[in-house]
């Protein structure tokens, strides 16, 4: 029977020393892979320092492990955000590798070969991809990335979605499918945690992240760079096995892969290895899982507000009657003063459809998406702190635990889509008053104070002052209209209004 091809330290030492050129590229590759795996951004460490550890939750874990990518150069152009130029940091990091390798060669003339470096680069890449894949996997397995859908979404026409958002929502239609996609990511990451299943895990990770990179490019999602880096690291991990697999399958010859694992002989080496390995695995696999469970079970979906809305109010409402300053305005889809329809959610948000109200659209998540002041002028920007969009909010001060403002700051209801004006409300259920505030960061000054009555189930009457200081009187009736999206196989035929 064949034997295992693990090379010992002794045989390494006995082998011939590497050529200068080989060492040069080994150093370059090592620096390149290490920089892709180990955060170098000053902003990242600031973030880690400023995290409010007393209220540690799964979102922090995600911030630490799911998003990191070296992003020092930002090109403010269409291609710089969505196209080829957005990948500029990858060749930049490679250039750093070349420069570093040059200096390394000048300083270190004694080392004969660099198998050890290859081993360490593989370790970095393995754990980088493993933890990233597990984090993204958890995000989908716990239905956080594409959270459950809601009334306002169901009542928005497709043309009011950005491609990115529509792609997202196709996935959230089917919770089992989202879980399945997440599990594929998790499983790839899990396999990468073990030496022997590294190749299989890396292959799966390559397929998963390569596919994600292409879909990001296709739908302008904006995370094409981190997913491409994951795919590159996966290829790096598979690389040494490719000749052997080629030999085996295509040439049909006997084949084997050489493996080199350094031995940890000294006590402190053994203990540090053990501590690092199990420590990181505990934090990014087990603790992370526990925090996800806490988030899931306490209704802490980071994209969904969790202040309860008016009791039993969720639904789609027709505007039966609308008066502005006492004057009755009849239904007309082109009228700009009248509300067209209103959606209520399980949580304290309402979405009002109005005609002719020009609005800035919010874009969701993805730190790589251009902010409103970042115009396409073709300029290059260099940020020493790295990914400034991502870590910007942690720039100077300790994170503040602020559950009061959690919900108004969530813009998932309208991120990447248009069609409705979304208001957050605080309900005074004793006086029966709603204090409403526009949820968009661009229009927070718009506020309404509306008294409400609920004379019967399904009817809500508003009476108060709107965002233009007009007094309005609105009668809303919940529609019983039917969504074919929820039809089961048995009742798929008839649409009842």
């Amino acid at each position: 029977m064949s034997e295992s091809h693990i090379i010992s330290e002794e045989s390494v030492a006995a082998q011939q020393s590497w050529s200068e050129r080989k060492k040069f590229w080994a150093h370059t590759l090592f620096i390149f892979i290490a920089l892709l795996c180990i955060p170098l951004d000053w902003g990242f460490y600031k973030m880690v320092y400023f995290i409010d550890y007393a209220h540690l939750n799964y979102r922090h874990m995600n911030e630490i492990v799911a998003f990191f990518n070296p992003q020092f150069i930002n090109i403010f152009s269409e291609s710089g955000f969505f196209g080829l130029a957005s990948f500029i940091n990858i060749p930049f990091v490679f250039l750093l590798g070349v420069i570093g390798s040059f200096i390394w060669g000048k300083l270190d003339k004694t080392t004969k070969d660099e198998r050890r470096l290859y081993y360490w680069a593989s370790v970095f890449a393995r754990y980088r991809v493993a933890y990233g894949a597990i984090a993204w996997g958890y995000k989908k397995m716990f239905l956080m990335q594409m959270p459950p859908q809601y009334e306002g979404l169901w009542n928005t026409e497709l043309l009011d979605f950005f491609a990115k958002r529509l792609y997202w929502e196709y996935i959230s239609v089917s919770m089992p499918y989202e879980f399945f996609l997440g599990f594929a990511e998790f499983f790839a990451g899990f396999l990468l945690l073990f030496r022997r299943t590294t190749t299989v895990g890396a292959l799966l990770a390559f397929i998963v992240f390569g596919n994600i990179a292409v879909s990001n490019l296709s739908y302008d999602i904006g995370e094409q760079v981190p997913s491409t880096i994951m795919a590159i690291l996966a290829v790096f991990l598979i690389w040494k096995d490719i000749p052997a697999v080629f030999q085996l399958l295509i040439k049909q010859k006997d084949s084997a892969v050489e493996h080199y694992y350094p031995e940890f002989r000294k006590k402190w080496q053994k203990y540090s290895r053990w501590t690092l390995k199990y420590g990181f695995n505990f934090i990014f696999v087990i603790l992370f899982f526990a925090l996800e469970v806490v988030g899931f079970t306490t209704n802490d979906f980071y994209k969904i507000p969790n202040t309860a809305g008016l009791e039993n109010s969720a639904g789609y409402y027709e505007v039966t009657e609308f008066r502005k300053n006492g004057e009755l305005i009849p239904y007309n889809p082109l009228d700009t003063a009248r509300w067209q329809n209103v959606t209520f959610e399980d949580w304290s948000s309402i979405g009002i459809k109005m005609t002719g109200k020009v609005r800035q659209i919010s874009m969701f998540a993805a730190g790589s998406y251009p902010r409103t002041h970042e115009v396409y002028n073709g300029e290059w920007h260099f940020y020493i702190e790295g990914d400034s969009r991502r870590y910007g909010k942690y720039a100077e001060k300790k994170e503040k635990h602020d559950p009061e403002n959690r919900d108004i700051n969530i813009d998932w209801e309208f991120a990447g889509m248009s069609g409705r004006n979304w208001f957050y409300y605080k309900a005074d259920t004793v006086e029966k008053v709603l204090y409403l505030q526009h949820k968009s960061r661009f229009h927070r000054e718009e506020k309404m104070i509306l008294k409400y009555e609920r004379p019967k189930d399904g009817r809500i009457i508003f009476n108060g002052i709107n965002e233009y200081q007009d007094s309005i009187y609105v009668v809303l009736d919940r529609s019983e209209r039917d969504y074919v999206l929820f039809h089961t196989r048995a009742d798929e035929v008839v649409w009842k209004p």
Binding site: E3, T156, L158, A184, V200, S255, A256, Y331, G356, L485
Partner: protein, 485 residues
């Protein structure tokens, strides 16, 4: 007879160590299982090879020549229109038709595979009783693997090339753009993920093309099987999750892919996981005689020519000139758009705007092609079919309308531009008899006036004005992200 012939064949190609009884039994079972599934027994299939117009081969014909499934039992639904095949003639005869509760989507839809497997298990047992001589099936195993691989890649051509040239999921119609998210069935939302941005559809097509190529060569067959398992297995799962409807076609790539990959797993496991010295240990048929070589190359060249080269060309032509899910007849010239219904009279009486009116039209759209659609807040049966298939007639091309609720009606129309009449026909099979003739007038390029009798034989008079809408979905990246309603 059959087993005699098999004996001769296997005797001729057997060598090496005899297989154990269990190995032989399992192999024979799968041999019969795949033979039943993949060798067409429907005489019509063979007739097509003769009858088809070889000088003018359509993508439909290539699909028909790609294979014919084993289907003694039809799994159907009682939903009205649910079993509709559009323009296709039903040529098959079934032993039985069943209507399981889960419709055509659940576990029951695999019943024909189950039957084939049971037949394989029984046949394998009989075969093992009849033939007790020592056997080595290495070579036959090779041929079965090659046969399954070829069946897989040939059946994949339509899905591949209609994604490479995006026709399987064509552009969204305006009526779909103007329909709220909740008014689509899950199946529809799954399919249209490819319809609003085609680059990802192309990418999926290239991945399937890669699978076809990898399965085509013996050296890369294992990679092709693994990739088809990963990619088309994912599609099979998604089709179950969304009731997508092609779960059988997709699941075949799980079964076939696993079968082809199976014999490569132990050596790959030894090489990659156990990290040992490994040999492949798979016997390939040598094809040493000249006639064998000629036959092998002949078959390969024929398959490549028809199912890669010509199929690609035909799908490209289809994409350019007659995207098969999109109606071909052009609509009213320069009338494409969203229209608001600014005036609606029934028998001379004006019906005011109301989102709740059960007769008044709302939100009219006209497509580039001859489809007019509108919403009416009234109960109706939605399309039973899924809008798939390569239909002949425009009225059967229902990708734009199938699976839409929200009171949305879709009419195919023929324009008589001399008499200024639109001859409308409801695209929904259930309402296929609804035919309306509406006079039209276009006082300005932005206005369209229609009058005539509606489906209740009431006179209607409708004034439509084109709406100027912004489309975030198709917004240029360099545009400001401001929404103007």
């Amino acid at each position: 007879m059959m087993s005699e012939i098999l004996n001769k064949v296997t005797a001729a190609v057997s060598s090496g160590k005899p297989w154990t009884g269990f190995e032989k039994y399992v192999f024979r079972t799968f041999f019969i299982f795949f033979a039943i599934l993949l060798v067409p027994t429907n005489p019509n299939y063979y007739k097509k090879w003769v009858e088809v117009d070889w000088t003018n081969l359509h993508i439909r014909d290539i699909g028909n020549l790609s294979g014919s499934g084993f289907m003694p039992i039809k799994v159907a639904t009682k939903r009205e229109g649910g079993n509709d095949l559009g323009g296709f003639r039903e040529e098959r005869k079934y032993i039985a038709t069943i209507y399981p509760e889960s419709g055509e989507y659940g576990a029951w839809s695999y019943i024909n595979w189950g039957i084939a497997f049971v037949l394989g298990a029984i046949g394998g047992a009989i075969w093992s009783v009849v033939d007790r001589r020592p056997r080595n099936y290495d070579i036959l195993y090779y041929f079965l693997g090659a046969f399954v691989s070829f069946a897989m890649l040939i059946r994949l051509q339509g899905l591949t090339f209609s994604k490479v040239f995006p026709t399987q999921m064509p552009d969204l119609a305006l009526t779909q753009l103007n329909t709220p998210f909740g008014d689509f069935v899950a199946q529809k939302l799954y399919w249209i993920q490819f319809s609003f941005v085609h680059n990802y559809e192309r990418f999926a097509g290239y991945a399937e093309l890669l699978i076809m190529f990898l399965l085509f060569f013996r050296q890369t067959r294992a990679l092709g099987a693994a990739l088809s398992l990963a990619m088309i297995g994912n599609i099979a799962f998604a089709n179950h999750a969304y009731d997508g409807g092609i779960h059988l076609a997709a699941s075949f790539y799980v079964v076939g892919g696993l079968f082809v990959l199976w014999r490569y797993i132990p050596p790959l496991w030894r090489l990659l996981v156990k990290q040992e010295d490994t040999e492949l240990g798979i016997v390939y048929y040598p094809f040493s005689k000249p006639w064998e070589k000629a036959l092998r190359y002949g078959i390969k060249i024929f398959v490549f020519g028809l199912f890669f080269v010509y199929a690609g060309y035909a799908h490209w032509q289809n994409y350019l000139y007659d995207s098969y899910k999109v109606p071909a007849l052009p609509g009213l010239a320069n009338a494409r758009g969203l229209y608001s219904v600014d005036s609606f009279n029934v028998n001379g009486n004006a019906v005011p705007y109301s989102p709740l009116d059960s007769v008044r039209w709302q939100e009219v759209t006209l497509e580039k092609w001859a489809t007019l659609s509108f919403s009416v807040f009234n109960t109706f049966e939605i399309h039973g079919e899924a809008g798939r298939g390569k239909q002949f007639a425009d009225v059967d091309r229902t990708y734009e309308s199938a699976g839409t609720g929200g009171g949305r009606r879709h009419y195919h129309h023929v324009t008589d531009s001399v008499q200024k009449v639109l001859h409308l026909q409801n695209k929904n099979k259930v309402y296929g008899e609804q035919k309306l003739d509406l006079q039209y007038e276009r006082p300005t390029s932005e206005q369209l006036i229609l009058w005539g009798k509606n489906e209740y034989q009431d006179s209607i008079y409708v004034v439509l004005n084109r709406k100027d809408k912004t489309y975030p979905l198709y917004q240029d990246r360099s545009q400001e992200i401001v929404w103007k309603p």
